[in-house]
């Protein structure tokens, strides 16, 4: 079944090179995205149906596709599939309008559009594979494929800074992922010690680990390499340098995909490996939790500080992504129960961050620059985008009704019980970030244009598809926030968290 999904997307990529006019290519892109999302939801739905039907959920080590299969689907993977589906669909719809506008203004040529519509489906396909694959080698290849497929997208605008960002992106991420490969090899070696085992399947690793057949010393080495390697791809602080450059130079629909969903997918794959390490080390995640806690706190504090002096609004959003990844890591580091808030945080952050990047894209189209200084008086010139952007930003900054608020409060609740000082550091950094972002965005929106000349002629803003998407995702985030408050919502989240730590309450 997942193979068909990958095939459809591959076909979408190929059709980009058919001798069709530019408009048809964009339509085909949207169609491919729609079909693939529908199929993804169809695949992922049985996982949710079980929970909502209030009977116990198929969550054992086998997953939906049976023990030995190449693919592995449990509730967490199902949630990720759902997220990838929604955000890739919205990004496709928005890029339809975004590229049309760019093409009309002659910034982008036809070949560029062909590149775009060949790369994006491949990227989405590799993400689907990364989430579903049970085979470790395939997982590694999928993650590396996400990097390679987005390199040209980062260098899409052919500007010097864009190519520089692409160069750094491809080099650093490939370096990171190869370290990750070292970790993967060591894990398979540690798991395959006694019997010859060439199955490379995560589920088999878990069975061997529960049987106690894993060499723990080697497993520790493997986890360190894995954490630093894949951590580079997630953007934990010491290894985050590529992220602000890459996410701010790509066209906005792609940076919405990158920031919104790619970071979560890679984090989930890291958690899969962590699960094997936890079962092997039999300490219920204490040893591995330390990594997440330390790197989590770092990844919250440092970006929060850098945001204070940030001058480019897209880089500001990129740093906020690092910070939210740090938040999820911090939550995971709080112990076995910490996974629940982390899992709650993922959809909220994905929906809101992608909508923010899309809004930033809209502002970029009108103001032609991602630098914040010349962007002024947005409230009066782009009233619809500004209002939606501000509301989404507030939801992201954990204002009550949003899902992010619920998850952050649970996180701080658990954090205070056993790690007092790190939690206080986190609370203060969240405030610093809150203020930095609000002040930055507020200056952009409400600085009145000094002279009408500097205002430049700006066509009155019409109601376009970006606003529709932003509204839908905003409402989804708020609905999610309220859904978390109901007992059924909590039950679903706990069952998703259980897929990572079966011993959970």
């Amino acid at each position: 079944m997942p193979l068909i999904l990958v095939l459809i997307l591959a076909m979408g990529a190929v059709t980009a090179y058919l001798p069709l006019p530019e408009r048809r290519i964009r339509d085909l892109g949207v169609v491919a995205a729609a079909v693939s999302s529908a199929l993804a939801v169809y695949i992922a739905w049985p996982a949710f149906e079980a929970v909502l039907g209030t009977d116990s959920f198929i969550n054992g080590p086998t997953g939906i596709f049976g023990p030995g299969a190449l693919w592995y689907l449990d509730s967490l993977a199902a949630m990720m599939m759902l997220l990838i589906a929604t955000i890739s669909l919205s990004s496709a719809i928005i890029s339809h309008r975004y590229l049309a506008h760019e093409f009309r203004e002659k910034i982008v040529s036809l070949t560029d559009i062909r590149h775009y519509y060949s790369m994006v489906p491949l990227f989405v396909a590799s993400m689907y594979v990364a989430v579903l694959s049970n085979n470790v080698g395939l997982l590694w290849v999928a993650i590396e494929a996400t990097t390679l497929s987005t390199t040209l997208l980062v260098a899409f605008y052919r500007k010097r800074s864009a190519i520089e960002a692409a160069w750094k992106y491809v080099l650093l991420c490939s370096l990171g992922i190869s370290l990750g490969l070292v970790g993967v090899l060591l894990t398979t070696y540690a798991a395959g010690q006694n019997g010859v085992n060439s199955s490379l399947l995560l589920s088999t690793f878990r069975d061997i680990a529960t049987a106690g057949g894993v060499n723990t010393e080697l497993m520790k080495w493997a986890f360190v390499f894995l954490f630093i390697g894949i951590g580079t791809k997630i953007g934990f602080v010491p290894m985050h340098a590529w992220l602000p450059d890459a996410h701010s130079k790509t066209p906005s629909p792609v940076s919405a995909l990158l920031s919104g969903i790619l970071l979560n997918v890679v984090l989930v794959s890291l958690l899969r490996f962590r699960q094997v390490a936890d079962i092997a080390l039999m300490d219920d995640g204490a040893w591995t939790g330390k990594f997440f806690l330390v790197f989590g706190c770092l990844s919250i504090a440092i970006p929060a500080l850098i945001m204070v002096i940030q001058k480019n609004y897209k880089r500001l959003l990129a740093y906020s992504s690092i910070e939210h990844m740090g938040l999820m890591a911090f939550a995971i580091g709080l112990g076995p129960a910490g996974i629940i808030p982390a899992v709650m945080h993922m959809p909220g952050h994905a929906l809101l961050k992608s909508s923010l990047f899309v809004g930033a894209g809209e502002i970029f189209l009108m103001y032609k620059t991602t630098d914040s200084a010349p962007v002024i008086d947005v409230w009066k010139r782009l009233p619809k985008t500004a209002l939606l952007f501000l509301l989404t930003l507030l939801m992201l900054l954990a204002v009550p009704p949003s899902a992010v608020f619920v998850s952050e409060m649970i996180m701080i609740g658990f954090g205070l019980r056993d790690y007092l000082l790190p939690t206080l550091l986190v609370v203060v950094s969240l405030t610093v970030a809150f203020v930095a972002m609000t002040r930055h965005i507020y200056a952009m929106f409400f600085n009145p244009a000094l002279t009408t000349a500097s205002a430049g002629h700006m066509p009155a803003e019409k109601w376009n598809v970006t606003h529709v998407i932003m509204i839908i995702q905003l409402i989804a985030a708020v609905a999610l926030g309220i859904f978390y408050l109901t007992p059924k919502g909590l039950e679903l989240m706990v069952s998703i968290a259980q897929s990572l730590n079966s011993g959970l309450l």
């Binding site: 290849v141 390679l148 190519i163 160069w167 491809v170 070292v182 060439s198």
Partner: protein, 220 residues
């Protein structure tokens, strides 16, 4: 600790040492042509190593050796040199460290690799120890090359030396990776090489940039 080695193991160790020697020498050279040739030689030794291991391991290794030869000895050097020639990049490579001290740096990284090997030794069987040490050595050499060198192409070569180190580690620890994973990894590496060369060519043609020192625009 010296255990008696069978004859085929002696050949593997000899090939591993010569592989390391090429990597070590490559790290000191400052002409593009030279480091590409050393990289090809290094991959050749890797293929030889795999063949020698196939003697007492399982026969899949023959196939992977063939893959190494096709991809790493022929294809990747070809891609890099064609893109360099087409964009008429100057062969001279620049680095933070002059040639003589760069050997010194490589020496230190080798020492570090041995140290790392020692500390992981208790967890491995006897025979794999030497190969793991070579793998670590190659990886660290590649990493040092990427960190020390300034220009674009030598960073690509540094990355691929690191890749070779990992290939050795795979061979040492797992013997034969299943075919699907092997092919996947090879393809990914080639596409990586392709992309990196495309980017460097664009940089060279559009902005006449060869040295990453000039790529420092994206700050804070």
């Amino acid at each position: 600790m010296i255990t008696t080695f069978t004859s085929s193991e002696v050949t593997t160790i000899a090939l591993a040492v010569s592989f390391l020697l090429c990597a070590f020498l490559g790290s000191g050279k400052f002409r593009l042509g030279q480091i590409i040739r050393y990289y090809a030689l290094q991959s050749l030794f890797l293929a030889g190593l795999l063949v020698s291991m196939a003697a007492y391991g399982d026969e899949h290794l023959y196939l992977s050796a063939l893959g190494v030869i096709i991809f790493k000895v022929i294809l990747i050097p070809a891609i890099i040199s064609t893109s360099a020639k087409r964009s008429s990049a100057s062969g001279r490579l620049t680095s933070f460290v002059r040639p003589a001290p760069s050997y010194f740096v490589s020496g230190i990284t080798l020492l570090l690799a041995v140290l790392a090997g020692m500390s992981i030794a208790p967890a491995l069987e006897e025979t794999d120890l030497i190969l793991t040490v070579t793998a670590f050595a190659a990886m660290f050499l590649g990493g040092a090359m990427m960190a020390v060198r300034r220009d674009l192409y030598s960073q690509i070569i540094g990355f691929f030396t690191l890749e070779n180190g990992i290939a050795i580690l795979a061979a040492a620890t797992l013997g034969a990776i299943p075919l699907l994973a092997e092919v996947g990894i090879f393809f990914t590496i080639t596409i990586g090489a392709l992309l990196m060369s495309v980017l460097s060519r664009r940089l060279k043609e559009l902005y006449a940039v060869e040295d990453t020192g000039e790529l420092r625009e994206l700050v804070d």
